[in-house]
């Protein structure tokens, strides 16, 4: 509120400053400009005499200069005396009233409209000193938590840049925060100081992949392979190797790699949906028969691509800021036919996406799942997946909402309900009585 008072005060001040000439009685008729010229030439003549006195100008030179200035003076004098139309009248004319009104109307209108467009109205300052304390509430605090840890670690690393363990700690956090370049640097530093390690190799490979816009680069592929040599069961590395094979179009190998990955993964591993559709895609392209539980690319894909296009734009900024993504209703509105997973086009698109776009695609998939559960709520596995997805995306509120609704769907003695509330507990969500049918 006080902000708007000050804004109003500033605006009023400027308006008053600009209109005061229209009310001032001090403004008399302005001097005619020819009279001005006369003054100038007089001053020049005086200066000339002073030069002669100082001896810097000989009398002969001064004579001709005097004559010349005199001629100009006479001309200006004639102009000053002869024409009165150069005199300016002081009375406030209709036109100047109009100008005054224009000032009073335009200045506040322009500035307020422009500020509404460009400004973050009344957003408080957030100096470092204010942010160093635990924030009372809101998003600043959440981000401040990790941020503060990172800042502390960075401080230490500045003092001791050869602390490999420090680099190893911050590197994956950078990667999750979307600070890809910092992550690459940190992983490299850690590897340089501590020697390679499969988890770090794979992390660096992932960071390089993100930095290359989703393309698994030569260097990244090498790193994943080195990680797998040291630890063949390290699944994230396998995922990216398989992704690279898909990207390179080595479809038979890709299909085998995806299949192996799926076999070794937990059914709820975060990469499963992508892996499954990538497998289907690879099989199809390699000319292998489709699997029984294969995907249905056709009808869903087009709508999805459209939904994706709608969601793409605002996503990168959020991902980059590490903030919590917000679900976009348009995405749900356009996704007409809920597809069970990404189609081949999407996977192909995903491999060329940057981190932010990929988040957008995942969000699209999640919102389609949510929509499906709206129409068909009796799907316990679906609810479990939805709650977990929201939680992974950092949208705790939505996870809570989904949990509440899921608990409302299943009766108390249902094993599904038990499973759901167990998941909720393990994710730190609370089972609210409102959603529980007693």
């Amino acid at each position: 509120m006080i902000f708007w008072f000050i804004v109003a005060g500033m605006t009023l001040g400027v308006v008053l400053l600009l209109v005061h000439p229209f009310f001032s009685s001090r403004i008399g008729s302005a001097e005619a400009r020819a009279a001005h010229d006369v003054e100038v030439y007089r001053a020049q003549l005086e200066e000339l005499e002073a030069d002669v006195e100082r001896g810097t100008l000989s009398e002969a030179e001064a004579g001709s200069a005097r004559a010349e200035i005199g001629r100009r003076l006479l001309k200006a004098n004639a102009a000053a005396g002869g024409r009165g139309d150069d005199e300016f009248a002081a009375p406030v004319g209709r036109k100047s009233i109009l100008a005054g009104i224009a000032v009073v109307v335009l200045v506040p209108a322009i500035s307020l409209a422009a500020y509404r467009h460009f400004g973050a109205q009344g957003l408080p300052d957030l100096p470092l000193s204010a942010r160093a304390q635990p924030a009372p509430s809101g998003g600043v605090g959440e981000d401040g938590g990790i941020g503060m840890l990172i800042a502390g670690a960075e401080e230490r690393l500045r003092a001791e840049p050869e602390d490999g363990e420090g680099w190893a700690v911050v590197a994956p956090i950078y990667l999750r925060m979307g600070r890809t370049e910092d992550a690459i640097q940190a992983f490299r530093n850690a590897n340089r100081l501590l020697g390679p390690n499969p988890v770090r190799d794979s992390g660096l490979g992932e960071a390089l992949t993100q930095s290359a816009g989703g393309e698994v680069t030569e260097e990244a592929r090498g790193l994943f392979e080195r990680a797998l040599q040291a630890r063949p069961d390290y699944l994230p590395a396998r995922f990216f190797v398989a992704l690279d094979l898909s990207q390179e179009g080595e479809n038979a190998d890709a299909a085998a790699a995806w299949e192996a990955l799926i076999e070794k993964s937990q059914p709820d591993a975060p990469w499963m949906p992508i892996a499954q559709s990538a497998l289907a895609d690879a099989r199809q392209k390699a000319g292998l028969p489709a699997l029984a539980e294969g995907t249905q690319p056709g009808e869903g894909a087009q709508a999805q691509t459209q939904a994706q296009a709608e969601t793409e734009a605002p996503a990168p900024a959020q991902a980059a800021a590490g903030g919590s993504p917000v679900a976009r209703p348009e995405a749900q509105a356009t996704a007409g036919e809920p597809g069970p997973g990404p189609g081949p086009e999407e996977i192909a698109a995903a491999s060329q996406m940057n981190a932010g776009e990929r988040v957008a695609m995942i969000e699209g998939m999640v919102s389609r799942l949510a929509e499906r559960l709206d129409t068909d709520p009796n799907d316990a596995q679906g609810w479990l997946r939805l709650i977990r997805s929201y939680s992974v995306l950092g949208e705790d509120e939505k996870a809570q909402g989904a949990l509440d609704r899921a608990l409302g769907v299943f009766s108390k003695d249902d094993t599904a309900r038990q499973e759901i509330s167990n998941l909720g507990r393990s994710l730190g969500l609370e089972a609210r009585e409102g959603g529980t049918p007693q």
Binding site: P21, T56, R72, K95, A321
Partner: protein, 663 residues
């Protein structure tokens, strides 16, 4: 809240300058004193608003408020306070804010000290200033808003490029901007005169001090930028004909021409139309410089400012202002009254000669800067127009100009006496010839060009002082009266002599470095000794050292002369750990005006030995010392209050005080 208020102040300033663009100019057309008065009030208001906006941004930097995107991108909480503050203009958005702040400052100065100008001229000038201001404020708001907020706020900032964290870079941009933007006043006066179709008698008298002030700042800004590049980049050169350097050098050349033609206009009412054109061209070149640096057309050290959408916006501003003002000139120049006549051999003639050479030189630099860009745009072919081009074109243009410099002040106005002037320059001619002969003898005739160059330098040094000595007339009136007369001379005479003397100093420096510097690139193992410029340099080995945010490998050297140790020198390779960004720190040892300059190359594979570049640069510092002389000359000339007052006598004292304050 301060940040948002600063943002609002910026927007309010835009609204006020929109009003100021229209109302005073309309008032001047209609003869309405009240509408014209709005310009005064508005210029002061806009300056206060932008001052507040700039302070708000500075507060955000000082408090490390990373909820402001610009602060987050360019600052870091651990940065020393000086670099937090210099970080405000160490980036694109902040530097544009500084740009408009300085523009508003000049507008406010005209409004406060311009009470004695004819009211219509003043109103038009303020409106034209407001056009420029409006264009750049819109540019800031639409493409480079420094007040964009970031929410949630990150905890730590991304820091400023380490190479820009330097005291030199804290001062260089403000100086350069004061220069660039200062020429906007000359531009506004020129356009105002064209709008009126009349040049008032007070016109030149008003334009000259503003041009001079802008020229002083630009001189110092360029000089400082050159010295920074010399010691920070570690390439051992002091001028690279880099497009960004040229972008600031072109307004300087044409500004120098403007300065001289404004003198003719002030004293003799001649060259009016030409001066107006020069004023327009000079500011246009400043705008072009801003465009080249800010648009991303160029990739160089200044690449922090690249963004195509910004480039297009500035290009539009450029086209409107340059095209508009030149079109106005084409339409209205014929209505302007041309001034007094003069003989070819006269002070005016000498100044015309100066103008011809300087504008041709400007055009040369312009071609050398833009041609590669155009060629690349049209054909995709990349060519590099470097030193050889400028040595072949720019240097030959400068020689006759420099030869003519000492004659100028000795020629009388209207009709001069070249024989008489030559006679008075006998001493200078003699000294210059003697220098050439001695230099030839010392170099055994191998350095003909350099000897001639040195002669030229001495000719300038002595020739620029001849005018003062002659006017004091020591020979006839004796020493004491002579000094009394010297004291009585107008300050502008001293200003001229100092500036021309400074030019001579710079020329001597340039010639000495270009001809007599020695460069050794060699591999040195610890204990090795190499000679350079009469010194012996012993490499004592490398050591490692940690700085606040970098580690460095320092090469330690001992400097000896004929076996006696003079001291030690260091040169380092720095690695900014977090960014893994290497920089070199040149080792520089100054002995009188000469410098020994060491720069480290790579270490050899087996360790211990390292590649070292050793330069001996005789009289190199004279290059920059000369520019300081030029600037002091400008200040002295600015302090000369004679004929500066084109005003009713009653108000003379106030304005005189103002002129003094500017000096």
């Amino acid at each position: 809240m301060i940040v948002e208020l600063g943002h609002y102040a910026l927007i309010l300033a835009l609204a006020a300058s929109l009003i100021q663009s229209v109302v005073p100019a309309l008032g001047a057309r209609r003869g309405d004193a009240r509408m014209m008065e709005v310009g005064q009030a508005s210029s002061l208001g806009v300056f206060l608003l932008l001052g507040f906006a700039f302070s708000a941004l500075t507060v955000a930097y000082v408090n490390s408020d990373f909820s402001v995107l610009n602060v987050y991108q360019n600052s870091h909480s651990a940065k020393p306070m000086l670099f937090k503050i210099s970080g405000v203009w160490g980036n694109h958005e902040g530097s544009m804010l500084l740009w408009v702040l300085i523009l508003a400052l000049f507008g406010a100065l005209v409004a406060s000290f311009g009470r004695d100008l004819p009211p219509t001229l003043r109103a038009n000038v303020l409106s034209v200033q407001a056009w420029i201001l409006t264009a750049f404020l819109a540019f800031i708001l639409f493409t480079s808003n420094p007040f964009t907020r970031l929410f949630p706020a990150p905890f730590e900032g991304e820091d400023l490029n380490p190479i820009l964290q330097d005291v030199g870079l804290a001062i260089h941009p403000p100086l350069l901007y004061l220069g660039y933007v200062g020429f906007s006043i000359a531009f506004s006066f020129a356009v105002a005169a064209l709008m009126d179709g009349k040049i008032d008698a007070a016109w030149a008298r008003w334009v000259r001090p503003w041009t001079l002030a802008a020229w002083i700042f630009l001189t110092l800004g360029i000089s400082m930028g050159s010295y920074w590049a010399y010691y920070e980049l570690g390439w051992g050169g002091w001028w690279f004909w880099d497009p960004v350097e040229n972008a600031s050098f072109m307004p300087w050349l044409s500004g120098t021409a403007l300065l001289h033609s404004a003198v003719v206009m002030e004293k003799r009412s001649a060259l009016k139309v030409w001066t107006i054109l020069l004023a327009i061209l000079t500011f246009s070149l400043s705008l072009l410089g801003t465009f080249l640096v800010r648009s991303g057309v160029l990739t160089s050290v200044h690449a922090f400012a690249t963004d195509p959408s910004r480039g297009i916006f500035i290009l539009m501003i450029l086209c409107v202002f340059i095209g508009g003002s030149l079109a106005l000139f084409a339409f209205r120049a014929s209505t302007l009254e041309s001034g007094g006549l003069f003989q070819p051999i006269s002070r005016e003639g000498a100044l015309v000669l100066n103008n011809l050479f300087l504008t041709t030189a400007t055009a040369t630099v312009l071609v050398g800067t833009l041609y590669p860009l155009l060629l690349e745009m049209l054909t995709g072919e990349k060519i590099s127009v470097g030193e050889p081009f400028f040595n072949l074109t720019f240097a030959p243009l400068m020689v006759p100009l420099l030869l003519a410099v000492p004659f100028g002040p000795l020629l009388a106005w209207k009709r001069g006496d070249i024989a008489g002037a030559t006679q008075r320059l006998y001493w200078a001619i003699g000294a210059a010839l003697l220098t050439v002969i001695i230099a030839l003898a010392l170099t055994q005739g191998t350095e003909v060009l350099a000897s001639l160059g040195l002669g030229l330098g001495i000719w300038l040094l002595i020739g620029s002082l001849v005018d003062l000595v002659e006017r004091a007339n020591f020979r006839k009136v004796g020493l004491s009266t002579g000094f009394a007369r010297l004291k009585g001379l107008p300050r502008s005479a001293f200003g001229t002599a100092l500036a021309h003397f400074g030019l001579g100093v710079t020329v001597v420096g340039i010639v000495c470095v270009s001809a007599f510097q020695t460069e050794v690139v060699t591999t040195m193992a610890p204990g090795d000794v190499r000679g350079a410029g009469g010194y012996e340099i012993r490499f004592d080995g490398m050591s490692e050292r940690d700085g606040p945010n970098y580690t460095e490998e320092v090469g330690n050297f001992t400097v000896m002369e004929n076996g006696t140790t003079l001291g030690t020198m260091e040169s380092a390779r720095r690695l900014y750990t977090a960014r893994q960004m290497p920089t070199t720190e040149a080792g520089i040892r100054t002995h009188w005006f000469s410098q020994l300059y060491l720069s480290l190359g790579d270490s050899t594979a087996n360790g211990g030995a390292t590649v070292v570049r050793i330069w001996y640069k005789p009289f190199v510092t004279l290059i920059w010392i000369g520019t300081i002389f030029m600037a002091i000359g400008g200040v002295v000339s600015l302090a000369d209050r004679r004929l500066r007052v084109g005003a009713p006598a009653a108000r003379k004292s106030r304005l005189a005080g103002a002129a003094g304050a500017r000096g």
